[in-house]
Amino acid sequence: MSPRYEPITGRYLNCTPLGEPHRLYVEEAGSGIPLLCLHTAGSDGRQFRGLMNDERITKNFRVIAFDMPWHGKSSPPAGWQNKGYQLTSRNYVDLIVGVADALELDKPVAMGCSIGGRIVLHLAHEHPERFRALIGLETAAFTAPYYDLSWLNRPDVHGGMVCAGVVSGLIAPTAPSEGRWETLWHYMQSGPGVFKGDLHFYMIDGDIRDKVDKIDITKCPLFLLTGEYDYSCTAEGTLAVAEITGAPATIMKGLGHFPMSEDPEKFNGYLLPVLEKIKNL
């Protein structure tokens, strides 16, 4: 009997997206239109395994997910031990464009969730010509802090456990137990201060409310999908972006802030019609 491998392959990419050498872990499956997936704050590309294992998606799309520097199996840059980690809008945009270039992708679709759902708005504003389409999962123009972020990285609280504890309620209460706890496991494995560093973008630096009206979806189509149980970005936050930009938005029943990993089957049901539209652009 041959080994029962999944169709996903993983490799390490050497590139210099932020002006310094990075070693990034990249997974992919499928062929066709490149679909570059952007994971949530404090997690990694494993969140997208439900897409990469779905033939309905991979027969037309080359699904690619990279772990951001400091995340998953990607290394932090040399000298990290003397620095803190803090994600900014500038770095995040440059990282995505730099990785797309390093992978030599021709007009990929970018799909991001949470911080990734926010950054696609920045990409739509700054680089619409670089992308075939953009998909925002759990997108809002801004989310204000609703708890003291300092709890996420201090020596007297287990960082993995508190990060998982903070995000646990964002998962739909109806999500399958396996999807819920796998999503939380990714959070438990995050490096110290990485989730907090990402939230600097999500809750402070990445505020794009003053530029949403400048996004032109005729230059690059934008699609929005948000789980009804997401109280962080919120359905209202997504619909506000939809109203200003004209982008189609769907509020997904029975899903929360991590649709692709908390309940992949249900999420793919919402994603497939969007991918069908993009395929026919």
Binding site: D156, A164, G165, G169, L170, P173, E228, Y231
Partner: protein, 121 residues
């Protein structure tokens, strides 16, 4: 509802294991009705209804009866599924020495939501 917390938590071996380092007393305020809940090694060892003159506790969770009743439904309505969802909407206050709460967040979230299982019966 709140009086069922002890039996629900103490019957859940996985939850007790998750909270095995917890040793504290916290307060639940439903409007101005207060209850002290004493936890030792992940077990609820004492539930004391108020009123109190000088209650001694580490942290308190305060919300209206209407909010708690929605929160404790087997499948709560949108926005009432999680403590942080309530805090974000300013429907609940978590205050005091919240270190035990934050350091054991996954434990306390399930302890505090445990009455949902009773209402589901």
């Amino acid at each position: 509802m709140i009086d069922k917390i002890a039996s629900l938590v103490n019957a859940d071996a996985g939850l007790i294991r998750r909270g095995r380092f917890v040793d504290t007393t916290f307060l639940i305020a439903i409007d101005d009705a207060y209850t002290l809940i004493r936890i030792q090694e992940g077990r609820v060892v004492k539930v004391t209804p108020g009123p109190f003159i000088t209650p001694d506790y580490s942290f308190a969770l305060r919300a209206s009866r209407e909010v708690w009743e929605k929160f404790w439904q087997p499948l709560p309505p949108l926005g009432f599924t999680d403590i942080f969802a309530l805090v974000k909407q300013k429907l609940m206050r978590v205050e005091g020495d919240i270190h035990p709460f934050m350091a054991n967040l996954l434990y306390f979230k399930d302890v505090i939501a445990s009455p949902r299982r009773e209402t589901a019966r």
